[in-house]
Every structure is written in structure tokens, then in C-alpha cells.
């Protein structure tokens, strides 16, 4: 199910939150309703953690993560790093990396198996992404845009990419990522998909400007209608149990 919400009059949900199958990060500030919408959807299943990164609220664009790990930019403070390490499940590796392109959320799009990165990312960063997130890394562009994290939203079930992506690019990316892809928009025609929404295997959150057509495209490409969180989380249950004792 896709939920529509706003962060302080802004519809850019993917900027102020980061969702994966094992945790959800939410920016501090904004009204309580932003946080409580996430809590209402996710609280029984995965932890919802309020945080800032480098003192800013644009956490979704600064960090990249999946169920295996979370990568943070060098601007993250020690307190924020410690807070995240404490709040997230133990098997999620939280790592701060030195990378000139510090908006990791804009440069890396990933699910639990594969990641697309900005073509100019340094070798060491690429290796960190492969190690920490446990994924296969591909350097690529989307619709000739290097900021792959901004222009696509990816989950293990499907992906939504920039509307001007050509059919050949769609096929190529789909083969690389091994998930069905659709070119579309979010938030009433905004092309910046990664900033406009956030998604995991059973739920998605998008801005309140998103039209009904866009929501139905999102629900169909990410297969959210039949999704049951319990089925997915049960697979991870054994490793999650440790953190809830």
C-alpha cells in the first residue's frame, strides 16, 4: 500500500526519510504527524528511528542503505553515528565513509541484492558499497543523468525510473538489476523519483501531490497490493530477535 503524506508542506518524502526492509530513518523536525504516519505503518515490523545527518534534515539524500547496512557521509557527526548504531538492529552495519560526493542518497540507488552508482564514485567507495551493503555494484546513468539515486526508486520487487528513460535503457537496466522497471513520475509530474518517494518490499510513501494514476503505477510496479510484511520479515526474524531481547 502506498501512503501519501507531507513533510512541512514539502512533498519530497525521499529527502526527509530513508526506508529499507530492516529499518526506517526519519528526519527530526517537521510535525509529529510525519513521524507518526511512518510509525503507524511500520512500528510492529521494523524500527523507525528519528535522526539528523551532519545536523541537517535531508537524511534521505545523504545516506544509502539496505537491510544489510547503512552508508553515511563524512559529514555525519560522531553522536549521530553512535545514535544510529544503537538504534538500528545489530546485523545492520553502519559505516561512515570518506567520499567527495557526499550526498550518497543521490549517488547510490540500491536494494538488497544490487546497487547502481554514480559513474564518478571512487573505487574504494564502490568496494565499501559492495562490502557493507552486500550487493553487486554497477556504475550507470539513468536517462543520461549521473545522479542515479535521485532519479530512481528501487526495491527488491521493482523499480521506478526517470520518465525520459529510453526503452533500450530500461531494458538494459532491468537486466542489470534483475527487477521489472517502469518509467514514470511522482508528486504530480516530478521527475526526481528518488527524492519524491521512498519504498521497501511491502510499502511505499510518497508526497501528497502524487496523483491517483501515479500511485497505481507505484503500487503495481513495486507489487505492493499483495505484499504482506510478515512474510518478508519472518525470513529476517531469526537475526532480528537478538536486538529485541
Amino acid at each position: 500500500m502506498a501512503t501519501r503524506l507531507q513533510f512541512e508542506n514539502s512533498c519530497e518524502i525521499g529527502v526527509f526519510s530513508k526506508l529499507s526492509n530492516a529499518y526506517c530513518l526519519v528526519a527530526i523536525g517537521g510535525s509529529e504527524s510525519f513521524y507518526s504516519t511512518f510509525e503507524a505503518e511500520l512500528a510492529d515490523v521494523i524500527p523507525v528511528v528519528k535522526t539528523s545527518i551532519g545536523g541537517t534534515r535531508i537524511i534521505g539524500r545523504l545516506c544509502a542503505g539496505n537491510k544489510n547496512g547503512l552508508l553515511l557521509p563524512h559529514t555525519t557527526t560522531d553522536q549521530e553515528l553512535q545514535h544510529l548504531r544503537n538504534s538500528l538492529p545489530d546485523q545492520v552495519v553502519v559505516q561512515r565513509i570518506e567520499e567527495k560526493l557526499s550526498a550518497l542518497g543521490n549517488c547510490i540507488a540500491c536494494n538488497d541484492h544490487v546497487a547502481l552508482t554514480h559513474p564518478d564514485l571512487v573505487r574504494e567507495t564502490e568496494e565499501m558499497v559492495a562490502d557493507v551493503l552486500g550487493v553487486e555494484v554497477f556504475r550507470n546513468t539513468i536517462a543520461t543523468n549521473a545522479l542515479v539515486g535521485s532519479f530512481c526508486a528501487l526495491s527488491n520487487r521493482g523499480g521506478l525510473v526517470h520518465p525520459h528513460t529510453s526503452v533500450e535503457d530500461l531494458d538494459e537496466l532491468s537486466t542489470l538489476l534483475q527487477v521489472p522497471l517502469v518509467a514514470g513520475t511522482v508528486n504530480r509530474g516530478s521527475e526526481v523519483i528518488g527524492a519524491g518517494m521512498t519504498v521497501n518490499d511491502w510499502t511505499a510513501f510518497c508526497g501528497s501531490d502524487t496523483t491517483a494514476t501515479e500511485v497505481s503505477v507505484i503500487e503495481s510496479v513495486f507489487k505492493l497490493r499483495e505484499a504482506q510484511p510478515s512474510a518478508i520479515v519472518d525470513e529476517m526474524r531469526k537475526s532480528l530477535i537478538d536486538s529485541y531481547v
Partner: protein
Amino acid sequence: MPRRPMRHRGLVISRPLTFSQFARQSAARVASVYTAKRQMHTAEVLQKSPPNSAGNKSVKNKLKAKKEQSESSSSEEEFDGNVQVDFAFFDPKADDFHGVKTLLQTYLDDKEWDLSGFVDLILEQTTVGSIVKIEDDEDNGIFALVTALNLGRYKDQKCMTEIREFLLKVSQEDVIDDLRSLLGKEAHSVGLLVSQRVTNLPPQLLPPLYDGLFNEVSWATEDEPTEELKNSFRFKFYIIVTKFYKLKTAGQKRKHSVNEEAIIYLKPEDEIFHKLSSWSFEFSLNSPQIAPHELRNYQQTGLVMSVKADKISTFQQQLQSLIEEP
């Protein structure tokens, strides 16, 4: 009546001075426009500059002086900082949604309200209202917006109700009755004058922009299809919601700051409106402020004022002379 877009030249600096969040956001949106235009216009600038250079020299010098204070970006260092740009005024249309929404993000400070509905309202009213864009621009960046919305005509819309609530909440004791009557029984003759733009828009555009708006209002009183709609543009009052910078240390004796003004207006026409207003009040802003270094002693404050419609021609004359002075 169909209106041809009016063209106005302006010299625009590549790196905008941004004072506020909304300007920063809109500057980010148009940053791509500047780099694209640079390639297209540098060839034209060389041919165009001789006839314009005399008239625009003073503007160019002012812009050059400001250039030192703006952020540097390594990709633009070889660029001298001036771009020849043709601005055009267009009627509002549905495609402009995102640009207009960005300009209006902080209209009601940090209140969560139906901003999208408000933007839709503005864009549906094609007879009165102008949007300033660059001629033939692929990116469709919005630089400025001006419109007048009749409070009575739209009073049942959710966004209008929220605006009324907000204004009544932040108003002061002495003007609340005036405000209440304007929002209540007089609403059908009150226009909400909405004017937002990127901070560094060349001021030469302002007189034609406002002249255009007030002309449209008077044309609408004749051209609208129904009597009701014609009457809805016979405004007697305008309400304006805007912001300005006020000196923070108002209580202390200002021995050193003889040259510091108590109030700095973000938009030059606000000063004229404020002088001509029947009443006005200030309200403090909750949203986070990022003030540039020169304005570190100033606090950004909201301002609401009401101007009688018969003062408008005075306003237009004063605006013209304010902009024209060297």
C-alpha cells in the same frame, strides 16, 4: 482579450544572492537555466552589448560589486557573471505548478496548509495574474509570480479558509477588527495580492509587472463573461502578506548604527505599499532563518498590510520613480 507576452531585457547575474529559503530553492531550480543560457547567449551578448551598454552600465556595476559576495563554483569561474536574458510575461497555466509551488513554500511561514490547492487556484485564474519566465526556455523555470485573488469568490476553498485562520491567529489586537471585517463581510471587494519572485530578479521588471496586473484587473471588470465575475474584480482593498528584515537589537541604544536602517525590505515595492497602507501588522516567523553576513543583526519578520484600491495609481507612479532613480 488575448495578450501577447511582453518582452523585457534584463541583465542577470549568474550566481544569485539568496536571502531566504524560497529564493534558495528557486535559485537551485534555475541554476541549470543559467548554464544552458550561457552557451546560447554569449554569442549574442557580443552583438547586443554596444547599444545596451550605456544604459545598463550602472546596473552592471552594481551587479559586479555584489558578485564578490556570492558563492563560488569552480565550473563557472571563467564566466564574467553577466548574461543577457529575455524575460517574458505569461498567463498562468497548469504546467507552472511546480515552479509556483516552490515560490510559495514559505508564504504562510511554517504552517502546514493546502498549498497545492492554493497554487491550483492561482493557475486556474488565467484572466488576472502573470508569471515571469525566460522566453523559449526548455527548463520552464518560474522567476516571478503576481496575481490578485478575490477573497469572497474563493472563500469556500480550503486554502482560503486556512489563510484566513492564519492571518487572524498572527494579527495584533489593534488591527484585528479591521482584518476581521476585510476577511468577513467585505471579502467580496478584497483582493489578496500575491507577489513572489526570486530575490535577484532585475527591478526594471517590476513597474511593467504591476502595471500589467492592475491593467488586467480593470480589463477583467469589463471582459469577464458574467456580472458576478466582473464585480469580483472591482477591488476596494488589497491585502498583502510579505516579509522584511527588522533590526534585532531594537531595545538597545544604537550609538554605532547611525547608518543601519531599522527596516530592510526584501522587495522594493513593499516599502511603497507600507507607506500607502491603511493599516498593517507584523508577526514573528517560526521557520529557520539563514541570513547572509551583512544581515546578521536583522530578524526576518512577516508583514501583513491592507492598501485601498484607490491608492494604486499613486503606488504605480512611486514604483516607477523608485526603480528609475540611479
